[in-house]
Homo-oligomer: 389 residues x 2
């Protein structure tokens, strides 16, 4: 499983999900919830009170993060450089807010100066962007956007679906106001939960709303009455998935965030070295803008997108993803996320890809990818396997 | 576990959820999705094209069922006789529609004639009600509301969270336009999915909207592109929970809906006979208005609500629920739902309740509850155990 999520999942997480179901107010379960929240704060690197997993997919995390601050007539800026950052804009528009898109070509990062220009003289309530745009593999540096948000007096809302627990992120230090993610990516839990964290400043903005949040299900204040000290019943959460997330978070903290970030970095460096040695072109040209978790490569000239991915899956049991939206049929996306980011996966993928492409007439020096990847690991060869299995 | 959900879960469902995660477009998984849809149609007794489990709790099912038909300025009638039917009104109000509540005291059903009167001369787009109001245990007969909806030209939207697969329900025959439920109730799967089904008439109403559905996540048309033939990616569903729901649905169909309804009926009859013999008063006076799945009883005079429930859980490992909202502290709710609706549970509960109440000074003839329940089962004694375990 080398798609940009879901990832392979540690057997400990499967075992945790097999625990018997109990009621949503059961003391043992509420203790598990409280522990999951403490662990989530550690992984987000935050002290935010409102930190909990929303009972929805990552897209539900977008919706919660956008409909809580925005009211009809508000103005928002959204940095759009792919399908998922576009989704922030699409969802923001459904609140009746005026949304301005600040765009960059797919495969590149948005320029914070374009955000400044777009917001000049306007009363911008939020700036939304994807830390990692999983549809292209582009990483967005956050500091400049934080500055721009400060200058405009706006909240900074960041999609970390493809980056949390795989790429350096420090919510408090980077002063992100609302940060959301998904359980089945860098955390390597099962899909169905969207961890979210909300700064006290964003809490104030939400509290100062004149109208009700348009979604009852995604109303962060109401849901926090359940996840907070009161444990007021809001809705029944997906208990099984919370068992699994709790265990997945423990695994992340046991490995250590820094070690985990470094593992992701090394494995992607090796993958890139291998692909380049095979003459395969990466979609993201600027190395500083490459997500360590998701790598997009162009489908080489003359190669068949669907056929190649089909053979990888059917003959070699390796799933990779195709392009989304305008990149459909043009790129392949390889996820080295969480439990899937492993040295043996990188090497096996390069070996098999060479074989499948050669059968379609692709020419590259034999074993070029494998050799380059091995060289990339070099003396650090042991580190990327330093993961509890 | 004798709360009104989650219920006990068949080991087959736990085993299904332990299956390895695959991608959301994996052919094997999409086959599981398609099968789950076929089984859901069977359990809802419908041929509706749009029939699938929403990636959210039952409350997300309410939101999806309400925000899709309603636009700002529309008029809606909601029958409110408890916390969950009230929630339909609360969520409908967030669409900007004008919502009129047709109320009945907690513990009784709403009168369809009150709905007719409230809608007279108005252009009502939808009538919402709970088939079973799980906060009180009241069952609402549907035929009269269907007639009222026809007279008013309105859609009929029905909450079957507490009734699906436990109490007779036939979506097509009863002509329900949008019907939603939850996975952890009569279906006895894990919580986190809200099965929904939408009639072609409701589909037309939704298609004729002038504005976009305010929720992206709960937009039924977009989600159906993924659950429909196209399999267009919308969001990543909670794959583990869908494995479990698929297996839980198979168990329901193996038992047979009629047999399952009868099992729920017999077990509740025995519970009621036992409680009445112990001198405990039921909240719902009219036998025709009692849900077979959830039974509410008044906390007997002089007995302590929290203490009694605490002792049941800690000493006897039996979880029952307290009252919600205005009934908090005043009633106990016992769920005999899905896999939890079993003869031995009824007998054990009556036996243990007698013991715990006696310790608080409650006086009733010894074993009265147990004897009455046994008598209620009578010659049908074998039927309620006819469940594959």
């Amino acid at each position: 499983m080398l798609t940009p999520g879901p990832t392979l999942v540690d057997p400990r997480v499967y075992r945790a999900m097999a625990q018997p179901l109990v009621g949503q107010l059961d003391p043992w379960f509420t203790k598990t919830m409280a522990e999951a929240q403490i662990l989530l704060r550690e992984v987000f690197r935050t002290k935010n009170r409102i930190t909990y997993p929303i009972s929805a997919s990552g897209s539900g995390g977008i919706e919660a993060s956008v409909v809580n601050p925005l009211e009809q007539g508000d103005e928002a800026l959204v940095c759009v450089n792919g399908v998922f950052s576009e989704r922030i804009a699409v969802i923001a528009e459904r609140t009746g807010a005026k949304v301005t898109r600040v765009e960059a070509p797919h495969g590149t990062a948005v320029d914070a100066n374009d955000v400044r220009r777009a917001g000049k003289g306007k009363k911008i309530k939020m700036i939304g962007l994807a830390h990692g745009e999983s549809s292209t593999g582009v990483l967005q540096e956050l500091a400049d956007f934080r500055k721009a948000a400060d200058e405009l007096g706006a909240l900074l809302i960041v999609d970390t679906v493809g980056t949390l627990a795989g790429i350096p992120l420090e919510v408090d230090h980077q002063r992100i106001d609302i940060c959301f993610s998904a359980s089945q990516k860098g955390l390597s839990a099962a899909p169905g939960l969207a961890p979210v964290t909300v700064s006290s400043r964003a809490e104030e903005v939400i509290r100062a709303r004149k109208t009700q949040v348009q979604s009852w299900y995604f109303d962060l204040r109401a849901a926090m009455d359940y996840w907070g000290k009161q444990r007021l019943y809001h809705h029944t959460p997906p208990i099984t998935l919370i068992y699994g997330l709790h265990e997945a978070l423990r695994i992340v903290v046991e490995e250590g965030l820094e070690a985990r970030w470094e593992r992701h970095r090394q494995n992607q460096q090796a993958l890139i070295a291998g692909l380049e040695a095979m003459g395969i072109e990466l979609l993201v040209k600027n190395p500083a803008q490459r997500m360590a978790t998701v790598t997009s490569m162009k489908v080489p000239q003359g190669m068949d997108d669907a056929k190649t991915r089909g053979r990888l899956l059917e003959e070699f049991n390796i799933a990779i993803a195709g392009g989304l939206g305008p990149l459909s049929g043009k790129v392949w996306r390889v996820g080295l996320l969480g439990h899937s980011s492993r040295r043996e996966h990188v090497l096996r993928f390069l070996e098999v890809l060479e074989r499948v492409l050669q059968q379609q007439g692709y020419r590259a020096p034999a074993k070029a990818g494998l050799v380059a990847a091995e060289r990339s690991y070099g003396t650090a060869a042991e580190a990327p396997n330093a993961i509890a299995i």
